[in-house]
Chain length 198, copies 2
DNA sequence: GCTGTTTACATACAGAGTGTTCAATAACTT
DNA sequence: AAGTTATTGAACACTCTGTATGTAAACAGC
């Protein structure tokens, strides 16, 4: 008794319909009936599975996050310190496969709650990592770890959003990671070949 | 016949009520009646001024943006090249004064449209600036200007969001700007006192 | 102050969407 | 094949929306 096939069919159809429609019209503009109609499912069936449309959206994004962390686990274990590298590359690949959903989430659809929660979680973890490094090396960091974490996360999300919004990516994932690493190590002014101005 | 005092009173009360309530319950959870009740205004009056709640929100944020660019104009003129400096400092000060609204916008409330539009506008302008610099110095940039722009904007917004969300800022605006400048010039690894890892 | 104009108000209304319930039917599992 | 479980369409009360009123109040200019 793994799971009834009808249940799976309905759930998947509704999830897929939601993604399609959010891309077309935006989350708030949608009605439950819009979704069930696209999914070719009765409205009553929707409520048999989900409380409301935000519930459906929450589950879809939760699944995405689960898929991401599953893929990230080995990469993170590899690169020990410093996230910019294998983990980021793996995330870009994941984003390429699930581009539609990434677009939706990164646009902040659905009140932006999933996005903000993800960003905050990343920032907290990153800040902790930075603090741990400072501790380990017995250095007083000149840059506040909290701020550094926000810089890092903001940078990643900004680039990721840009990358998934392009029709056909102007840069392959590997190039993006290379540039980000370069930037992190040498700074922005150096990277673009100029001296600071003001 | 500058403007009827009643009109101003109603508009302001509704705008203020919206800001309060969005912070308390989030934009989508609000009804027009919630807003008019808080503003102590009849519901019919709301519709005399605004089409719906997104219209009200759009005007409130448009005013904020207008205020920002007004304050930014002289600072941008000063620092000629390179935004990270006076303009950013001025923005932080503006954010401190209008913290509630900044929180709302940066959380992506109201479908995140104002935020995304602002971010995209910044990114386009920044990318153009980077390209112009490369042109001017006749250098082939090792980092894609488009990506660099997204990095920059993502970084600014990430830090800004963190900064306005704190109850009492852990760092004064001047410190934040100093660190951002430092980061931009020397890179992240150097800044935190460590060598790159992977 | 008076006067004509403009705004605010309370109320009512139709329409859309929500979330729930129910009995009949269809699809599934074992 | 039998028993279980999901889907369906219909009906329901409810909330919110956006519009349209006539009336009362507040306003600007003289």
């Amino acid at each position: 008794m793994a799971e009834d096939r009808r249940t799976r069919r309905s759930r998947r159809a509704l999830g897929a319909a939601l993604i399609e429609l959010v891309l077309e019209r935006g989350f708030t503009a949608l009605t439950v009936e819009d979704i069930t109609e696209r999914a070719d499912v009765a409205r009553a069936t929707f409520y048999a599975h989900f409380r409301d449309k935000e519930d459906l959206f929450a589950r879809v994004t939760a699944d995405l996050l689960a898929g991401l962390s599953e893929r990230l686990a080995p990469a993170v274990a590899d690169s020990a310190v410093g996230f910019t590298g294998k983990p980021v590359l793996e995330m870009l690949r994941h984003a390429r496969e699930e581009r539609d959903l990434y677009r939706i989430v990164l646009r902040g659809e659905g009140d932006g709650k999933p996005l903000q929660m993800f960003a905050d979680a990343c920032a907290r973890a990153t800040a902790e990592e930075f603090r741990a490094r400072a501790e380990r090396n017995a250095v007083e960091p000149r840059i506040d770890p909290e701020l550094l974490a926000r810089v890092w996360v903001g940078e990643q999300l900004g680039v990721l959003r840009w990358w998934v919004e392009q029709e056909t990516p102007s840069l392959p994932a590997e190039e993006v990671v290379r540039m980000l690493l370069d930037l992190a190590m040498r700074g922005r002014y150096w990277a673009s070949g100029f001296e600071p101005s003001a």
